[in-house]
């Protein structure tokens, strides 16, 4: 838990409430950019990640900028499912409510030649997909009973097709996308909004795993797109948007053709 000398932000008024968000996987990349974006828009945020030093530095920077404690940090490993319910309660109490949860935790461990890659693939499944289950299942239950709330999952364009290059990663993101769609179908009638975000190449640590990258966007651009989609309550967005058209075509290429297109797979 963060100790801060900055004053606590006000909770706003009933007509103009301060919105509150949880950001899982906030220490770098899109997560850090989202933390900046949301706090600039007046949100108070709970930042979660494993790396305490990065998290602390990010929160300090944000709180210094606004001269109030808009960001609180909680060191957490998404593999620790047991910790989630208590932590969620704690954050709810600290923030005074909850409007938005963004699951952004994700790793990309490229397969190594000469290895079966079981461990790395299972780790990707655990962080990218199972961690989302551990967080978003209780959040979904909560938001459903409250009849309000927004859930955002950061998936990937990689989840749209089974791609030969990194089966572990591509399937973990496919599972996440499918899970988010299921949540949306379950929760929309309760007034809960679920957004699936599918970024292409973003200039983050994860980019190192990519063999070749093009149309690379800075994480700030991705965060801006995501924020806009949250406001407009979109179902699914690609960032940048041009990936939407590309993936529309790729999704419709029959499998027996797709696997022959080596440059895509």
């Amino acid at each position: 838990m963060s100790k801060s000398t900055y004053p606590l932000p006000s909770r706003g008024t009933p007509l103009a409430p301060r919105r509150k968000a949880i950001l899982v996987g906030a220490s770098s990349g899109i997560g850090a950019a989202l933390a900046h974006k949301l706090t600039r828009q007046g949100y108070t945020v709970a930042l979660l990640a494993r790396r305490a030093d990065l998290l602390q530095a990010l929160a300090d920077e944000i709180n210094h900028q606004h001269n109030e404690q808009r960001a609180r940090i909680y060191v957490h490993d998404v593999l620790d499912h047991q910790a989630v319910p208590t932590l969620l309660n704690r954050i709810l109490t600290d923030l005074g409510g909850l409007d938005l949860v963004i699951y952004n935790a994700g790793v990309n461990l490229p397969p190594e030649k000469g290895s079966t890659n079981v461990e790395t693939d299972c780790q990707m499944a655990a962080v990218n997909y199972q961690g989302a289950l551990a967080w978003l299942n209780p959040v979904a239950t909560l938001f459903e009973s409250l009849g309000a709330g927004q859930i955002v999952g950061i998936s990937s364009v990689a989840g749209d097709r089974g791609r030969a290059g990194n089966p572990g990663y591509t399937s973990s993101k496919a599972a996440l996308s499918c899970y988010l769609e299921a949540l949306r179908n379950r929760l929309s009638s309760a007034g809960v909004h679920v957004l699936t975000v599918k970024p292409g190449f973003v200039d983050t640590e994860m980019l190192k795993a990519a063999k070749r990258a093009f149309w690379v966007i800075p994480p700030e651009k991705a965060a801006g797109d995501i924020y806009k989609a949250i406001q407009r309550r979109k179902q699914t967005i690609y960032t940048s948007a041009r990936w939407g058209l590309v993936m529309l075509i790729l999704r419709h290429i029959p499998s027996f053709v797709f696997r022959r297109l080596k440059f895509l797979a």
Binding site: S10, R11, P14, A16, L92, T93, G97, L142
Partner: protein, 469 residues
């Protein structure tokens, strides 16, 4: 009792359904269970908000992420003496229970709210007033004594002369100093179940206020309806209602009219349509044009003054006349803005406010005026003057503009030496509260808070908003 998000986080709303917050809901049935809730709060590092029927229009009974102690389960009437009119009740007893208990013996609560669903704990916490504030004061002025459980675990008795400083701070203290556990009230004698009511129109704000002032000195109850959609020369027009108790012998059927079933509001409209459906038919008129039409029709239909006799319950509990009326305002609900202004400044300030709301396309759909007198309670809202309560429909699109309008209202009211009521306004900031209460009052209230609740266990969204740093 360990709060877990799976079973106890509950969405709680305000009266107007315009605001909600998730909380751990506790429903104690006795004092021991309240103590247990305090213990849980201490252990888990949570705050506690007290809640009665949840009829505040703002965030007074909401506590996002904390515990809400719903006291409706503690609703026993403990003692009733029909000879003296003294009644001792638990805090969850409603005005509904209260009047039904005392009326057959020829008594009536001295002060009631516009809905009878409110609990007495909540009424005391907000120090409610009725349509007779200029004559009978607030409900706090009729409290003989109460016992209160402090968050420290101490249970003490307060009355006007016993722990007087706490008495005057806890009544109207927003439930931030302790939990009322029993309340002893003095009822008022009544010789009939009926009131004589006179209704007449007033053409503009100046005559509206002039007639409230002269009328209030002659009547037991006085309330005005203000058509906030009327512009220009008709700005502030409306209809006044004055009511008087009947003297002994005036009502030949007193034995009959004092019975509860005589008072009970009919459940159908025109003997046919269930009233519980009525709010669906009101909803289509809840827009600027529709309300203008309804208000104009109402005004011209009332142009002939009339006098009639009406049952107490029908006159007082206008908000219960149409069940769930607040649902007519739609999904985002409504808020109410009430300002209290001295006689000297009311006309000018309200003229400015009504015109401003119309210019911005955010007219109030219902305005209610009353006459008031000052009282001795610490966080008092009362002035020697008038109050105007304005209902506003909230929509997804007008939220921000409405919040801005109300901030402008706050400035006008504070400049005019006015005050606000903590069960209603939702946009009052800490800075505004300090301005109208005075720094001295805020300091004194916080000193009492440190004495009664040194660990700050009692907090609500309202308290953080108006007393936050």
């Amino acid at each position: 009792m360990k709060p877990s998000i799976y079973n106890t986080l509950t969405r709680l709303e305000n009266y107007g359904h315009s605001h909600h917050a998730p909380s751990f809901l506790f429903q104690p049935q006795n004092v021991a269970e309240i103590e247990k809730a305090f213990e849980t709060a201490r252990k888990q590092g949570l705050t506690i908000t007290l809640r009665g029927a949840g009829k505040s229009y703002n965030d007074a009974a909401l506590n996002g992420g904390g515990i809400v102690l719903d006291l409706q389960g503690m609703n026993r009437i403990l003692e009733w003496d029909p000879a003296s009119g003294l009644i001792k009740v638990e805090p969850g007893v409603t005005i509904h229970q209260l009047w039904q208990h005392v009326l057959p013996d020829g008594w009536w609560p001295p002060v009631v709210s516009g809905t009878m669903t409110t609990t007495l704990g909540g009424c005391l916490g907000m120090n409610i007033h009725g349509k007779n504030n200029f004559r009978m004061g607030t409900i706090g002025e009729h409290v003989i004594e109460f016992t209160v459980l402090l968050p420290t675990g101490l249970e003490i008795v307060c009355g006007p002369k016993k722990n007087g400083d706490l008495f005057r701070a806890m009544i109207g203290g927003l439930g931030m100093l302790g939990v009322f556990t029993t309340i002893t009230l003095q009822m008022k004698r009544t010789h009939s179940g009926l009131l004589t009511v006179r209704a007449w129109n007033v053409p503009h704000l100046r005559s509206h206020l002039d007639e409230i002032e002269t009328g209030a000195s002659e009547h037991d109850y006085f309330v005005g309806w203000l058509d906030a959609t009327a512009r220009g020369r008709g700005l502030g027009r409306g209809q006044l209602h004055a009511a008087d108790y009947l003297h002994e012998g005036d009502d030949p059927a007193a034995a009959r009219t004092l019975q509860i079933d005589y008072q009970t509001l009919p459940s159908t409209f025109f003997g046919l349509m269930p009233k519980s459906l009525l709010h669906y038919f009101m909803a289509p008129f809840m827009n600027n044009l529709g309300t203008w039409g309804v208000n104009t029709a109402k005004y011209y239909m009332g142009s002939r003054a009339k006098t009639y006799r009406q049952a107490h319950a029908a006159f007082h509990f206008l908000l219960d006349y149409i069940p769930d009326w607040e649902l007519a305002y739609g999904r985002s609900g409504l808020i109410q803005y009430q300002s209290f202004l001295p006689r000297a400044t009311a006309l000018e300030a309200w003229t400015e406010m009504l015109a401003l709301s119309q210019r911005r396309g955010l007219p109030s759909y219902l305005g209610v005026t009353k006459r008031h007198r000052p009282d001795k309670f610490l966080l008092t809202h009362a002035v020697d003057g008038f109050s105007l309560a304005l209902d506003f429909k909230v929509t997804g699109r007008n939220r921000t503009r409405l919040a801005g309008l109300l901030q402008d209202f706050d400035r006008i009211v504070v400049d005019a030496g006015g005050r606000f009521y903590f069960a209603k306004n939702s946009e009052t900031t800490a800075a505004t509260a300090r301005l109208f209460l005075g720094q001295d009052v805020v300091t004194r209230f916080k000193a009492l808070k440190r004495r009664c609740d040194p660990k700050n266990l009692l907090e609500s969204d309202l308290y953080r908003r108006v007393f936050g740093e």
